[in-house]
Symmetry: C2
Subunit: 217 residues, 2 copies
């Protein structure tokens, strides 16, 4: 039996190998033998540590998204205005896609299997949706956001965030743009946030509704 | 040699068989022999009519999107305010995804091949982007839209539109919603349009910027 340190470092080496292969290829089509070769470990260890390839993919997802998920849950309890929370939230999601463009494909791939899908729902989708719901409710309570269905926002925001990264082939072939660089990431984030914030915040021109004017952005 | 009528009806039968199989499965994983069996035709005809499976998939995409693409180009030349054009445009895209939820996967699949990707870029992506650019430019000229990069809007709008349909497994497993029904389609369209229109239109609260107030929606 490997020691607990060896166990932890071999486990991580397999995750890192899968991660770097997916980043290089812009694809989740990576075989166990390629992961073994890259990590310098025997592919049988995938079964030993993760119960199989599906388990490795779930562990990879947790490795990539876990820290941000915990950061996001921390954000919720902080005394920060809802608009700022939404900005941090959207920037956080786009940064994840920027660093790990394969994440969206991986999530949808895992959702094709009921059991893996339930695991992703439990660890990623529902906590993410809960965060969004909570910050939207905060914004509505602050009188800053209009009432809006958080479930619909979830699909709109995630869809908009991932599409630029999911569609890098389209970006290249149809628009002649070679991948998402830092400038494009920044201008995409700014544009999306401007659309969302203008779209979601209460518009109170004093002439039409009276009452104290709320400072929005 | 088949007559021209036979040719056209066999060709269409193969397209229709692929289409109905993809709709039923919510997946583009459909084999040539399944398409042959569903259409009652020999799978060799796929090579005869389309040059191969890739060609059949391109023809299917044209069959599904072609009429809407032409409608959209017609819309551009009509004397309609930009806001109305944007509404029709977004509704049109969502309706396509509603009827053919496999379209997004099919497009991204075809973009994985350089040659097929160029064909999709030429017939779908670039005309769509051109339509959006033109209606955004009209809106800016009308003083209704703020300056915004149409390329970024393209990815935001398409990503938001497709995600609800692309993520039907996620919708089911994570949110307990069994597929997109007509109510959900309508509320998603309304919410997305409200976000976009509020986000894109010029907001001029008189106290802050002075000048005449523009009636937005």
């Amino acid at each position: 039996m490997p020691s607990s340190n060896e166990r932890s470092s071999s486990r991580q080496a397999l995750i890192d190998a899968a991660k770097s292969l997916m980043i290089e290829r812009g694809s989740i089509e990576v075989s166990l033998s390629e992961i073994a070769q890259r990590s310098g470990l025997n592919s049988a260890l995938v079964k030993y540590y993760f119960g199989g390839k599906q388990g490795l993919l779930l562990a990879l997802l947790e490795d990539v998204l876990g820290p941000s998920m915990r950061q996001m849950e921390g954000l919720l309890t902080m005394d920060v205005p809802s608009v700022e929370k939404l900005k941090l939230h959207v920037k956080g999601i786009i940064n994840i896609y920027f660093r790990y463009p394969f994440v969206n494909r991986l999530i949808h791939y895992l959702f094709e299997d009921q059991q893996a899908g339930e695991k992703v729902a439990e660890t990623i989708s529902r906590p993410l949706a809960k965060t969004q719901r909570s910050l939207i409710e905060q914004g509505i309570a602050e009188g800053v956001f209009k009432p809006i269905d958080p479930k619909l926002v979830y699909f709109i925001v995630l869809g908009a965030c991932d599409h630029l990264f999911f569609g890098t082939q389209m970006l290249r072939i149809a628009f002649g743009v070679e991948g998402v660089d830092d400038d494009l990431r920044r201008s995409y984030t700014d544009t999306l946030l401007e659309l969302l914030l203008n779209g979601m915040t209460v518009d109170k021109p004093p002439v039409e509704r009276g009452g104290p004017r709320v400072r929005l952005l």
